[in-house]
């Protein structure tokens, strides 16, 4: 009984952590490459859910939403980067913070204007409805699906960054963008590609979690706080840090209510403060980069 409870809570924590990875990876890659602190990242996540809602509304097909909504978010992310963020590279990072914060407010207003402030819902596709018997306990099938997608995406991205040519250029650009530029690679295009990638991942997370949970304009704010906490814990700009940080926060979210239900929120900030005291650059951060 106790063992089952702990096993189930551990799986819950693992699932929460892995889904948080989808949101935080984009945030951390964009910071790591371009030094842009993207406050609009939570809004891109929210847009993923609303675009998903719209695509399901038009086509009646959830799988179409899973495919199309992230691409639309990616397209919008690309436009935002190209037309507004790019002109500000090399300036004081405060400009980017103000700019993306402005986008967050605008997108919130736009979503409220188009879809209203009421809570909405994307129905789970019939084939993923119901639960699976995992011997010790049963678990909702859709949540296992989300977990599977998150693991697959995280692993694929890890491989891509480590192994592919684009990954090498990415890492090199993060390290010394001027040198990469001088060697004949258009760094600006790399930056746009990374921004689009981050937006697609946020959009994907939006469709998946919007289906598992509720869709409402407040979802942007609630995810961005956790995402920033994870990025700070893991180390700004570190992919490994984002994954490990998300895993830790997921476990904290899962086991927190078992031991201290009243303080779950506070635990996150206590952990963040503790990590910063010991390692000011985060668990995997590069102290020289900050």
């Amino acid at each position: 009984m106790v063992f089952e409870g702990i096993a189930k809570t551990a799986l819950l924590g693992f699932e929460m952590g892995m889904t948080l990875v989808l949101v935080t990876v984009g945030l951390t890659l964009i910071f790591g490459m371009m030094d842009v602190i993207n406050f609009a990242h939570g809004s891109l996540y929210m847009l993923g859910a609303y675009f998903g809602l719209a695509v399901v509304g038009v086509t009646g097909n959830w799988w179409a939403a899973l495919l199309v909504a992230p691409l639309l978010v990616g397209l919008l992310g690309g436009l935002i980067e190209y037309f507004s963020i790019r002109p500000l590279y090399g300036r004081n990072p405060l400009y980017h913070i103000l700019l993306t914060f402005g986008f967050a407010i605008m997108l919130h207003g736009l979503v409220t204007e188009i879809w209203g402030g009421q809570v909405q819902n994307i129905s789970t596709p019939a084939v993923l409805d119901g639960s699976v018997d995992l011997v010790l306990f049963s678990y909702p099938l859709f949540r296992l699906f989300v977990l599977g997608v998150s693991i697959a995406v995280t692993a694929a991205l890890w491989l891509a960054i480590r192994q592919s040519d684009f990954g090498i250029v990415m890492r090199a650009s993060a390290h010394d963008s001027e040198m990469v530029d001088a060697l004949g690679t258009d760094v600006n295009r790399v930056f746009t590609a990374v921004f689009v990638l981050g937006a697609v991942l946020a959009g994907l997370a939006g469709v998946l979690l919007g289906t598992a949970r509720a869709v409402d304009p407040g979802m942007a704010a609630s995810v961005i706080i956790q995402a920033f906490a994870i990025v700070v814990i893991g180390g700004l700009g570190s992919y490994r840090g984002a994954v490990v940080g998300a895993f830790i926060v997921g476990m904290l979210n899962a086991f927190g209510p078992m031991f201290a239900p009243q303080f779950t929120d506070a635990l996150l900030y206590l952990l963040m403060a503790a990590v910063l005291l010991v390692k000011p650059a985060g668990l995997f951060g590069n102290p020289e980069a900050t």
Partner: protein
């Protein structure tokens, strides 16, 4: 100071409501309700006086609410303050209204019972509900029909804490057992680990307070983890209300809740209201729209009975009076100016498109404590 607005030929209402952010939908619903009564049904006139409005956005910020209230009272010379949504904003507005004493406050949503408990003011009339009314009266229904033991789960902020405390007091006073209680932070999006604790409690029923997107997230996850098969979910009506029920869908089937307004309530008065509202706004009225509508009814009655807009005279013409509310019986209690009203216990059932609340039992003329207030 102009011509001292609120003079003999006009009635001025000031909306102190959220028009942006999470609660903007609630603010708009309240305004719609007020305008349905005063603009559509009364042609924008009460007793020959033209109705005027001013509105400003509080967001969810108490100090903004207080400063808008002050401005409305002192430079706009409003006769009625309608709002707010948030109980915290209401707390900040109270001293402004009590101190000035020049307008009637039609509290169209904030349910915090402490507004009445601490220095109650005669200018405060609740056209909504108080926390006790939306939680405690469900206790005897749960004890008699559902289970004699419950676990409490709630959004961990003032209103959620009040709701579960008031339910707990009542449930224990009639011999029920509260097995344990689990508070989740406001705005939690993943409730799975809290649900694990609810399941571990071993209780047969749950009493909850969650609202808005929290209510949708909580209920969907409650059912997806199969808790609906082993426990009966009950709660304050905001858990399963018209603004969340469509998003909750079949996950909410069979659950019980308590509220003072149910759009599907079978009565001629309600049907008339639903038809008028949906004809005007192309939407089904929710509880906030009803509270707005009742604020319109109260403003109408106050001005008519008082023969003008003098605040003290209007207080006397509303205190202890009944309103013809779509929700059922409604009377401003003389001692507190909170409503004495009918409360519906509803169960979620299947409907043509999705689900709806069906009234299982109506508790008539629910009063609750006075918390020492004696106006």
């Amino acid at each position: 100071m102009g011509g001292g607005g609120g003079g003999s030929d006009s009635v001025k209402l000031g909306f102190v409501l959220p028009f942006s952010g999470t609660y903007s939908f609630l603010g708009e619903s309240i305004v719609n309700g007020v305008k349905l009564r005063l603009d559509q049904q009364l042609d924008g006139e009460i007793d020959g006086r033209t109705v005027e409005y001013v509105r400003q956005d509080t967001g969810a910020d108490p100090s903004t609410g207080a400063s808008i209230t002050q401005e409305f009272l002192q430079s706009e010379n409003v006769d009625f303050i309608v709002g707010p949504v948030s109980s915290a904003v209401a707390g900040a507005m109270k001293p402004e209204i009590a101190g000035t004493g020049s307008a009637i406050w039609l509290n169209a949503n904030a349910g915090n019972y402490k507004l009445v408990q601490d220095n109650c003011t005669k200018y405060h009339f609740r056209t909504s509900f108080n926390t006790w009314q939306t939680s405690a009266p469900l206790a005897s229904f749960v004890k008699n029909n559902v289970s004699d033991n419950v676990v409490l789960s709630y959004a961990n902020y003032t209103f959620g804490q009040q709701s579960k405390n008031l339910f707990r007091e009542e449930f224990e006073s009639i011999g029920g057992t509260v097995v344990s209680e689990i508070g989740a932070p406001l705005g939690t999006s993943d409730y799975s680990s809290f649900l694990q604790e609810i399941e571990n409690s071993g209780a047969d029923a749950v009493f909850s307070f969650f609202a808005g997107s929290d209510a949708v997230n909580y209920i969907k996850q409650f059912s997806s983890f199969g808790l609906n098969e082993t426990m009966t979910q009950t709660g304050s009506g905001f858990l399963l209300s018209a603004d969340t029920l469509q998003a909750q869908g079949k996950a909410a089937l069979g659950m019980y809740s308590l509220l003072h307004y149910t759009p599907t309530k079978q009565s001629d008065r309600n049907q008339e209201f639903v038809d008028a509202y949906s004809g005007q706004f192309d939407a089904t009225p929710n509880v906030y729209a009803c509270q707005g509508y009742d604020s319109g009814l109260a403003a109408e009655m106050a001005v008519k009975e008082a023969g003008g807009t003098d605040a003290d005279t209007m207080v006397d013409s509303l205190s202890g009076k009944e309103l013809d509310s779509p929700r059922g019986y409604f009377k401003f209690r003389s001692s507190t100016h909170d409503p004495i009203m009918d409360m519906d216990i509803r169960q979620v059932v299947e409907a043509n498109e999705g689900v709806r609340n069906e009234v299982v039992e109506t508790l008539s003329k629910v009063e609750g404590p006075t918390w020492g207030c004696s106006l």
